[in-house]
Point group: C2
Chain length 286, copies 2
């Protein structure tokens, strides 16, 4: 979609969803569909078509990666439970050739991970050139749950914002384009989604009793998300704020965000690294 708007979008997502000084987590309309003028049916049809466009663009990045282009794209999905991170991977990233996707889900840190700096496990999972990396949760857990649950002393999590900015500035400088997506659902919508997990045999495994306990800490989480957005929303690694009560909106919105990022990479198919006519003659005789 680029930066100019095209139907059914009246405003490109890179503009309407970009976090800014005025972004207030506590006042977000999580049920909104910023910039979009269509309905669910249109969004779902569009997702197929735009998913294919995303896949084509990633194919070009992959091809360039194979001949040594160091560039990569890294989608960071951050959000409370039930915000739809898993569904985003399945229904958006699922359109892309698995060869070009490097997906990592970060859970509660293991004993070994706890013995290292919080960025240790992150660095190990960074995408190589040509890849679309996807982080389901990320180093931002270390200024969210780590803060709200006091897993580390305040002076430790407080300095992490600067460490993260420094880290992200280094990886963007070496060719990784970050797409940082903060996904928000309302408390009511979360209750509905958690209830569903208690009603369906194919969803029990997604239910974690501790998710209910976290609901009591909603205001503290909102504050932590607000600080995250305020302190790490840099020019090179901006945050996008996605209303997620309507899954069909959040999915098409993130698809458009990714397409926009890929288009700015101005990718083309790589030139041959060999003499085509020479190779045709070699092949004819082989």
């Amino acid at each position: 979609m680029g930066t100019k708007s095209e139907a059914p979008w009246h405003t490109p997502v890179v503009e309407s969803l970009r976090a800014g000084p005025g972004t207030r987590v506590s006042e977000l309309d999580t049920n909104g569909t910023p910039g979009f003028e269509g309905d669910k049916a249109l969004a779902e049809r569009l997702l197929v078509e735009r998913g294919a466009a995303l896949s084509d663009l990633q194919g070009k990045l992959f091809a360039n990666g194979r001949i040594g282009d160091p560039r990569s794209v890294l989608l960071i999905l951050q959000g409370m439970d039930t915000a739809g991170k898993g569904g985003m991977v399945r229904h958006v990233i699922g359109h892309v050739d698995p060869q070009g996707v490097d997906h990592t889900a970060f859970g509660v840190p293991t004993a070994e991970e706890k013995r290292h700096h919080f960025l240790w496990r992150i660095v190990k999972a960074l995408p190589r050139g040509g890849q679309l990396g996807v982080f389901d949760r990320s180093h931002y857990e270390d200024v969210l749950v780590a803060r709200v649950r006091s897993l580390v002393p305040e002076n430790v999590w407080r300095r992490r914002y600067d460490e993260i900015n420094q880290f992200e500035s280094e990886i963007t400088a070496t060719g990784t384009t970050l797409v940082k997506v903060a996904m928000f659902v309302s408390l009511d919508e979360q209750k509905k989604r958690l209830s569903e997990r208690l009603e369906r045999r194919d969803k029990y495994w997604k239910y974690d009793p501790s998710d209910v306990s976290e609901r009591a800490l909603w205001p503290q989480y909102q504050e932590a998300y607000q600080d995250m957005l305020d302190k790490t929303n840099t020019e090179n690694a901006p945050w996008y704020v996605i209303p997620c009560d309507r899954k069909w909106y959040s999915r098409i919105a993130v698809t458009e965000l990714l397409i926009d990022v890929f288009e700015r990479l101005d990718l083309d198919w790589p030139d041959p690294t060999f003499d085509i006519e020479v190779e045709k003659r070699r092949l004819a005789k082989a």
Copy 2:
């Protein structure tokens, strides 16, 4: 499909493609469609439907993995250049939720990899419980190109067959089901596919001049593939031999193979690890 045949299959792939003492690499009909009675159009329609079935099955494995089930499935794709390994990943594995896929492409070993035992990089890439691992090339390179190109002395590659059998017997014993797929195209079909890479701007990057040089070693490769099939076709980690001149056949065939393997795991949605009624009451109040 299980082990009984259903239209349009007159024989299940697990039977018709299973390597055996009579398998002769030099006599394979790479243009064949063993067991299948349909045409290309039917195969392509089927792929959508059966891809969705595969995805559902993998979803159950993933769910069980999340509650500690150590089982995984590992698809090993081995074949000469242009056999269609990449397309297999894109068009078969592409149906599966990226969260449940762990894909690794093994290239020429790096300097670091060369300093280690040949299984070092393989072990690091094994899928965790709940995952469908996919190896595009594998440890079998170490008895194929390593043998044909004399990258190591004969006594080294000769003992690798036993090492591989021992290794595979260990990983299958700890819960990984191996699906070993040997993909074969004819020399003529390979020439056609290499030519195409020299004709299309979007395919140049796939062309490697060394692929042409390897064609002169075709008989040696056939011998190496034959030995690989003869020496590592074990009960727990059998080989399947896939004719790949027709991509539509190879893709639906591997899809059916995977479905068969998943069905034998006899997966169900996991039981809840909590008291549903207690949680409903907690959630109502939260």
